[in-house]
Subunit: 547 residues, 2 copies
């Protein structure tokens, strides 16, 4: 069998898992770009729609914990909508709804017999990026050569989610090797952006972004090595969180370039509601991942930190700093508008907003690229060689030199010297904030580009600097591209090839309606505080919109 035949076989098996009664009678034609409003009432009941239209994860949980909805009907509603979403944007890689329904029934029986929930995530359907192992479910991570690879054990993440009451039911699409900001591979093809199918859903957790935007999941788990949670969250107008290294347990999940620990990839949530971020992180921390993952930090949920104990306390005046341009690559025009709107909203809410002075983006970006490419692509080449499938993507350099261990150590050393300087740069802002503290968080574009047309590259340092420095970074939605106000600007003096590329890629009509999101970036280990600050920013933006 050729690799193409193997991949086609896998896709056919996946398609066969969609029951006949969940197949859309007519699929939207290629001219239908926005499928978020595509009518679903031919396959979903009003009850299914009511459940899955719930915009707040806390409300979903509350309805199940009070017996208003059962886990079975919530699971059923979400898996149906997930299978429909897949027909619209090609977002799924694995479907295991039989396992999910058995699990949901167990939860309902427990609730019926004890009157109690199993845990804080009781009944919540949670979708998973196609690298988080679930016992008995095939895991290909988009590699043709991995077709047939069935996980023997739950990853720690999957197990702890189950322990806390969650229901696992689908996994979602990713780019080859998880190593570029789209979601396209030789097994499952390309996932599209539900708001405009000519555009990418982003990546690498792009299937999650597309699925959650289409309400096929209220909360998903992605991973982030350079923006892989945040880019898809941003490109679909969702909320996402990249916590610090080893806060959410990674053990037992699969990854590309495993053993690369200079910049560890982290798992984290993407959700339709900002509350979803807190619910996930709190449930995960309270599940004591350090009992199962040897690298997980012994850090229970810290309510004092969430109450902004290190930031003047709840209700105090915060000082944010805005990163308008990192000095290397100007973000597309809608980002400047989103930053202005957010700054105004925060000021209206009584906070201070100053400018963030970018710190050596070129040096930081080069360090990231060199570390990503340190094995000269050997890991990915081996995985592709299993089937003969071609390599794809635009982050890894096919001509990168395979470094020796000593050379790799020098990179790690340079990284630590750089991040020390970056931290000093942050701490030194204490003189400019007026709060007696350094900047509480940085407001940063979630990328240089709006969700771009398929097959185009991005400049990733707006998200990736947080991976390099291990800063905690959330994504929150602000606006959408509007050709009426987001006109192209006159060309500026380009500081890099990426600067030119991003400038030339912008053409307002192409991006009409595409979500534009920002990041709230806090210091290493500040998951709780960043979630709270994201809630504060989100509330400020919503208050301003209402006025």
């Amino acid at each position: 069998m050729t690799w193409q035949e193997k991949a086609a076989g896998k896709r056919a098996r996946l398609a066969a898992l969609i029951p006949h009664d969940l197949k859309l009678p007519t699929l939207p034609g290629p001219d239908v770009l926005d499928v978020t409003t595509y009518p679903l009432d031919s396959v979903l009941s009003p009850r299914d729609l009511e459940i899955t239209d719930t915009a707040d994860v806390a409300v979903l949980l509350e309805r199940m914990s009070t017996g208003v909805w059962t886990a079975t009907e919530v699971t059923s509603a979400y898996y149906k909508r997930a299978l429909v979403a897949h027909q619209l944007v090609n977002c799924l890689t694995e479907i295991f709804i039989d396992q999910a329904m058995v699990r949901a029934k167990e939860l309902d029986e427990h609730f019926k017999s004890t009157g109690k929930t199993v845990g804080p995530l009781h009944g919540l359907p949670i979708s998973l990026k196609d690298q988080i192992d679930v016992k008995g479910v095939e895991l290909t991570m988009g590699y043709v050569g991995w077709i047939g690879n069935v996980s023997k054990e739950n990853s720690v993440c999957a197990q702890l989610l189950l322990d806390q009451g969650a229901v696992l039911y689908v996994r979602t699409n990713i780019p080859q090797a998880l190593m570029f900001g789209e979601s396209r591979n030789n097994v499952f093809g390309t996932t599209s952006n539900p708001f405009n199918r000519n555009l990418t859903c982003g990546g690498s957790s792009g299937g999650e972004g597309a699925l959650i935007a289409l309400k096929g999941s209220p909360l998903g788990v992605g991973s982030d090595l350079g923006g892989s949670i945040r880019v898809p969250a941003a490109f679909q107008g969702l909320y996402g969180l990249r916590g610090s290294y080893h806060r959410v347990p990674y053990a037992g999940s699969t990854n590309s370039m495993e053993g690369q620990e200079a910049i560890p990839s982290v798992l984290g949530p993407i959700s339709c509601s900002v509350g979803g971020l807190k619910i996930f992180m709190k449930a995960m921390a309270d599940a004591q991942p350090w009992d199962a993952d040897p690298l997980a930090l012994r850090l229970p949920w810290n309510e004092g930190a969430y109450r902004l104990g290190d930031h003047g306390g709840e209700g105090g005046r915060l000082c944010f700093a805005v990163l308008w341009d990192d000095g290397r690559c100007k973000p597309m025009p809608p980002y400047a508008r989103a930053l202005r709107e957010t700054k105004a909203a925060l000021e209206a809410a009584g906070h201070t907003v100053i400018d963030w002075v970018p710190y050596e983006s070129e040096t930081g970006g080069k360090l990231l690229g060199d570390i990503y490419n340190a094995d000269g692509g050997h890991d990915i080449s081996l995985a592709c060689a299993l089937s003969g499938e071609p390599r794809m993507g635009w982050i890894l350099d096919e001509h990168a030199k395979h470094l020796s261990t000593y050379e790799y150590w020098q990179l790690c050393r340079a990284k630590n010297a750089f991040t020390k300087k970056h931290l000093e740069h942050w701490v030194n802002t204490v003189s400019a904030t007026g709060t007696g503290r350094p900047v509480d968080a940085i407001i940063v574009p979630a990328g240089s580009t709006a969700p771009q047309p398929h097959g185009k590259a991005q400049y990733i340092y707006y998200t990736a600097f947080a991976n390099l420095c291990d800063y905690v970074a959330s994504v929150f939605p602000v606006t959408a591209c509007d050709p009426a106000v987001d006109a192209q600007l006159p060309a500026h003096a380009f500081r890099s090839e990426a600067d030119r590329m991003v400038y030339e890629m912008y053409e307002p009509e192409t991006y009409r309606g595409a979500p534009i999101s920002l990041q709230c970036v806090g210091r290493k280990g500040e998951e709780e505080a960043v979630i709270r600050m994201t809630e504060i920013i989100d509330a400020a933006l919503k208050t301003k919109t209402k006025k």
Copy 2:
């Protein structure tokens, strides 16, 4: 100049820093093995002796914070005794007492004018391993090629110690590249064990061990990559602590094989009193190292954890497990006696003591060795090549292959798989403890050998498994080798070359009077709980001795 001439020049400059009035009129002859009781009254005043004989760091601090002693007189007493210690066992590498006395005077003036201490370490002289940078002080780390290298900035560790009120005054000897368990290099030569100068002080923080044992310092900072804090603490009957990765800030200090982050070396305290461990760790955590070190964890001192919140609470029954033999290499006979005595003391204090089942020591030991040797010794070869000095030591393999980055990543991956299994092994002890918790801590020999004669190798896995798994491990003294009771045993079936080596190295008379110490090993991130449990064990041993 040859490397020998350069090294001799450096040693001469160091010797010249010892004032004439601090030179011992007669040095003990080579037949004087135990120099801990060598008379010092020819160079130290009764007041100097009274101060430096203070066995408890808390008492020292209390006397300064209440004005009984000044920082100046305490600093002066300790530096004098340090310079004397150096004449007995060759433990120092850098002497910067002028800087120290300026600092001490500042502290005294602050105290005099405000009535307050500068911080929790007010006036405490702290010695540093020869890798912790102090601004303006030469740092060679024992490499001839680094002679003349003066630090431009304080390391974060040194700076935070100063911020907390400490006085820095000397640095101490180490093995070449910090990579074997003695303290010998081509610049400074060999440091001896003050209890028996035919024996090693251990390493790599061996100068610290020897200096503190001779009361030339109440507390020192070492580093630990395989036992380098614990071995010298153990070999001198002191207390030491290896915390988890990134709890004590390493940034700005120098290291060999920098960039090796698979098993990060950690800094930590060695002290004459168990209280010194807490004082150091609390002061360091409360100094917020995360504001200066990009890898430091945001973890203030956790008093609840110190009160054993995760171990049944203060005053509860604990369950310890004893590691008698790791299945690869039998410790020398005095260790079995020390373990028996400690088990009996803990049982007498109402705690439970079960046996620890060793977990795949051969696999773990091989992973450690492979990671240490991953660069094929390139880092060390480059440092030696600067001067032409020869390599030395017995941990790094001169014929090790220099791995590619991909090969190195596979090692890191194997390490994470192994430590996950090791953690499961620990967590599964819950069924055997009777407390409802897994084993609270493991009691482990601090090495396979008692402090061995100079130039002999050790088997290091008794300490190094904690580095591999990132377990927190303290050292506490138990007894001393006593030929009357610690007879050689009949040969057993050797499980490894190390097993034979350690067996054949034992001959009771050689080790007469040598300190024998054990470790208290807790889980990753349990610095506070391990310190408390060490205090509990120490008290139990002292109670038993009194009876």
